[in-house]
C-alpha cells in the first residue's frame, strides 16, 4: 500500500478555481464515502481550506489511484479535466508523506508557521474517521503527522514569531501585562480592522469594550464580539480603565492627544497602557508613546515587527525540514516493517503445519495420542519452529526497512511456496507531477 496526495493550493491554482473545487463541511461525509468507493482507493480523507484542496489516500496502485481521484474531482466539481491537470499536483510514497507532514506542520502554508492548518487537518481527519474512510495506515500516518507538527513547534521557534496584526498586537501586549485573561481592551472605532485586530485578544480571554462615534455601529460590533458598547462621550472614562487600546477610526485628526493620555495616566496612577493605532491617518499623537508607562505601536511598527517575525519563521522552517525528513524516514521504515509481517506470519504458519503434521504422525506411531507425554512432543515441536525461524524472521524484519526488503520477502515466498500477497507484488514505479513540494 502506498500514500497518495492529489490536490491544489494557493501556489498552483487561482482563488476562483480553488473556490470551485472547495468542499463544505456538509458535503464531506457523502463525498468521502464516494471517494472510498472508487477503484484503487482503500483509505481516504479530504482537506478543504481557503488555501488548499487536497485528497489524501492510501492506494495499492497510486498512479492509477491518482488518475481515478482526478477524474472524480473533474466530474464532481464540473471542471474540465485538462484544466484541472494543469493545477493539480500528484505525489505518492515518500513525496506524498513529506507533503502531508509539511502541510500539517504549516511549512507549506501561505504564512509559514501559522497554527490554524493543524486544526483544519485535525477536523478533516475527524470527518474522515466519522465517515469510516480512515483505515489503519492513514490513521497511523495522521497521528505521526500530528506528532511531527507538535515536534516542529516545540523543537523550533517557528511558532514564537507572530505575524498577523492581531497576533503581533496580542504578543506585544503580553510582553507588558503577562496574562491577558484579566486585561481590559478598549476598541476605539468599530471598523473591520478593529474587529480583526481584537480577535486574538478575545481568544486570550480579555474583556472587550467598544466605543464609536456612532453608538449603533459600536453596539453592532460589541454584539458580534460579545463585548460592551459605550457612547463616544465616555472616551476619557474608558481610557482610565483600559489596559489595551486598539484605535482604528476614520478620523482625519488625532483623537487621542498627548495631553489627554497624560491626564488619564495621572488619574490611573501610572498603570501601564498599551496602545495599538491601526488607523491611517493616525488616531493617536506620536508623542503619546514618549509618556512613561505608555507603549504605542502604529501600523508601520506592527508591520515592521511582522516582517521581522516572518523572516525568523522562514529561518526556523529550514531547521523544521530536517525534523520532517527524519520523521518521514522513520514512518517509511515502520511501513516497510509492516510489509514484512504477512510473509513472517505465512512462514510461521507453514513451518508449524509441517512440524505439527510430523509430530502427529510420530505420536500415532508411538501410541502416545492418549498419553500425557504427548505435551512434551508438542512443546518440542514449537521450540523447533521458533529456533528454525528466529534468524529468518530477524533478517526479514531488518531487511524490510531497506531497499532489498521486497526482494527478500518475495524470495521467502518463492523458496517455501507461500501464497503471494499484494504488498510484495506492488512494484509500481514512482511518478510525481505538479509544482508544489
Amino acid at each position: 500500500m502506498k500514500f497518495l496526495v492529489v490536490g491544489c493550493s494557493f501556489r498552483t491554482a487561482s482563488v476562483d478555481l480553488r473556490e470551485r473545487l472547495a468542499y463544505s463541511a456538509e458535503e464531506l461525509p457523502h463525498t468521502l464515502c464516494a471517494l472510498r468507493e472508487l477503484p484503487d482507493v482503500h483509505e481516504v480523507m479530504l482537506l478543504s481550506t481557503c488555501n488548499r484542496v487536497e485528497i489524501w489516500a492510501v492506494s495499492g496502485r497510486p498512479r492509477h489511484g491518482a488518475q481515478v481521484l482526478m477524474d472524480y474531482l473533474a466530474r464532481d466539481r464540473e471542471v474540465d479535466l485538462a484544466e484541472l491537470k494543469k493545477v493539480l499536483y500528484r505525489h505518492h510514497t515518500t513525496e506524498a508523506l513529506t507533503h502531508l507532514f509539511k502541510v500539517t506542520s504549516s511549512l507549506a502554508a501561505m504564512v509559514v508557521g501559522e497554527p490554524q492548518i493543524a486544526g483544519q487537518v485535525k477536523e478533516a481527519f475527524g470527518a474522515a474517521s466519522e465517515a469510516g474512510t480512515v483505515g489503519p495506515l492513514l490513521n497511523r500516518c495522521m497521528h505521526k503527522a500530528f506528532g511531527t507538527a507538535k515536534h516542529v513547534r516545540t523543537e523550533t521557534d517557528i511558532a514564537r514569531h507572530p505575524v498577523s496584526v492581531s497576533s503581533v498586537a496580542a504578543d506585544l501586549a503580553g510582553r507588558v501585562f503577562g496574562d491577558l485573561a484579566n486585561s481590559r481592551v478598549l476598541v476605539v472605532g468599530a471598523g473591520e480592522m478593529a474587529e480583526l485586530a481584537v480577535r486574538r485578544l478575545l481568544a486570550d480571554g480579555a474583556s472587550i469594550q467598544v466605543i464609536n462615534r456612532s453608538v449603533e455601529r459600536a453596539q453592532q460590533l460589541a454584539f458580534q464580539l460579545g463585548a460592551n458598547a459605550h457612547p463616544w462621550e465616555q472616551l476619557r472614562g474608558q481610557l482610565l480603565l483600559a489596559d489595551i487600546v486598539i484605535s482604528s477610526t476614520g478620523s482625519k485628526e488625532p483623537i487621542i492627544s498627548r495631553q489627554l493620555v497624560l491626564e488619564v495616566m495621572r488619574q490611573r496612577r501610572q498603570k501601564p497602557m498599551f496602545i495599538v493605532d491601526i488607523a491611517v491617518p493616525r488616531d493617536v499623537e506620536r508623542a503619546v508613546g514618549e509618556l512613561p508607562n505608555v507603549y504605542l505601536f502604529d501600523v508601520d511598527d506592527l508591520e515592521q515587527v511582522s516582517a521581522e517575525n516572518l523572516k525568523e519563521r522562514r529561518k526556523e522552517a529550514g531547521a523544521a525540514e530536517g525534523i520532517l525528513g527524519q520523521e518521514v524516514t522513520q514512518f517509511e521504515d515502520w511501513m516497510r516493517m509492516q510489509d514484512a509481517v504477512p510473509v513472517i506470519k505465512d512462514l510461521r504458519q507453514h513451518f508449524t503445519e509441517v512440524v505439527r503434521a510430523e509430530v502427529g504422525r510420530t505420536k500415532h506411531d508411538l501410541g502416545l495420542e492418549q498419553s500425557a507425554r504427548q505435551r512434551v512432543l508438542d512443546s518440542m515441536a514449537d521450540a523447533i519452529v521458533n529456533k528454525l525461524l528466529h534468524v529468518p524472521t530477524m533478517e526479514l524484519k531488518n531487511h524490510a526497512a531497506r531497499s532489498d526488503g521486497v526482494f527478500l520477502a518475495r524470495s521467502a515466498r518463492h523458496l517455501f511456496r507461500l501464497p503471494s500477497r499484494q504488498q510484495e507484488e506492488d512494484g509500481e514505479p514512482q511518478e510525481n507531477k505538479g509544482k508544489e513540494r
Binding site: L172, F177, G178, R269, Q270, P272, P292, N293, V305
Partner: protein, 266 residues
C-alpha cells in the same frame, strides 16, 4: 582557599555562563541546565557555609562570612523566585553577582569587631550582620529585576524586539516582583540599621561617625521614599526601577567602604 570554595566559585562561573548563554545566545533553551547548575551551586555553597561553621567561623560574625551569606541568599532567593514565575533571565545577573561576592568574601581578611565582643553585644552584632545580609540580598534581587525591567522597557519603547526581548519576563511581572522584594527587604534593612546603630554606639572603637553609616541611612531613605512614592503617587515602572538601582548602588558603596576598611586593617 580550600577545595570546596574553589569548587563553589567554579560552579558559580558555570551557572553564570549558562544563564548568560540562555539570555544572549542565538538559540533559546538550556535554561533548565542553567537552573540545575545553580541549584547544585547553592547546595555546595551551603555545604561550604556549614564547613565554615564547623570550623567556628560564624557566617554572621564578620564581613567575610556576611559576603558569602549574601551570595548564597541571592542565589537561593532567585531559585525560589523562579519556582512560580518565569524570571530565569534574572539568573544572568544573579549568578555572576553571587560568584563575585563569594570570591570577594574569600579574599577578605577574617575577624571583625563582632567576634571581639562578648554576650549581648556579640549577639547584637551578629543580628545586625544577619539582618543586613537578608536585606542586601532582597534589594540585590530587586535590583536584578529592575535592570531587566529597564532593558525590557527600553526595547519595547524603541521597538527593538530581538531575541533578548523574547526571553525576558513581561513588564508587569517584573514590576510586581520588584515591589514585593523591596517590601520584604525594607523591614529587614530597617531592623538591621536599628541594631547596627545601637551596636555601633556601644562599640568602644567605632562610634557612628563613619561615612558608611550615613550612606546606609541615605539608602534606607531611598528605599523608604520608593515605597512611599509607590503607595501615594503610584510610582512604578521605569522610575521605580531606576530608584531601586540608585538605592542598591549606595548599598554596594557601603559594602565597598566596609571592605576597604577591612583590607586596610588586615
Amino acid at each position: 582557599m580550600n577545595a570546596l570554595l574553589l569548587i563553589t566559585v567554579a560552579l558559580y562561573t558555570l551557572a553564570s555562563v549558562l544563564y548568560l548563554a540562555h539570555l544572549f545566545g542565538s538559540k533559546e533553551g538550556g535554561v533548565n541546565i542553567a537552573r540545575w547548575a545553580l541549584i547544585a551551586t547553592a547546595v555546595v555553597h551551603l555545604g561550604l557555609i556549614g564547613w565554615y561553621c564547623s570550623q567556628k567561623l560564624n557566617p554572621v560574625a564578620d564581613l567575610r562570612g556576611a559576603l558569602s551569606l549574601i551570595a548564597w541568599l541571592l542565589a537561593s532567593g532567585f531559585l525560589v523566585t523562579t519556582i512560580k514565575s518565569r524570571m530565569s533571565a534574572m539568573g544572568a545577573f544573579v549568578a555572576p553577582l553571587s560568584g563575585v561576592l563569594l570570591l570577594t568574601s574569600a579574599l577578605t581578611p577574617a575577624d571583625s569587631p563582632a567576634v571581639d565582643q562578648e554576650g549581648i553585644m556579640r549577639a547584637l552584632g551578629e543580628l545586625h550582620i544577619g539582618l543586613s545580609a537578608l536585606g542586601v540580598a532582597a534589594f540585590g534581587l530587586a535590583t536584578a529585576v529592575a535592570l531587566i525591567y529597564c532593558i525590557q522597557e527600553n526595547a519595547l519603547k524603541n521597538k527593538r524586539l530581538g531575541p533578548l526581548f523574547r526571553r525576558m519576563p513581561p513588564l508587569n511581572t517584573l514590576d510586581d516582583a520588584g515591589r514585593r522584594l523591596i517590601l520584604v527587604g525594607f523591614p529587614l534593612f530597617t531592623l538591621a540599621l536599628v541594631t547596627g546603630v545601637i551596636w555601633a554606639i556601644h562599640l568602644p572603637t567605632a562610634g557612628i561617625a563613619r561615612p558608611e553609616f550615613y550612606i546606609s541611612g541615605a539608602t534606607w531613605l531611598v528605599f523608604g521614599a520608593l515605597i512611599l512614592l509607590r503607595v501615594t503617587l503610584g510610582w512604578r515602572g521605569r522610575r521605580a526601577a531606576l530608584l531601586t538601582v540608585v538605592g542598591f548602588s549606595a548599598m554596594v558603596l557601603v559594602l565597598l567602604l566596609y571592605l576597604m576598611r577591612r583590607l586596610l586593617a588586615g
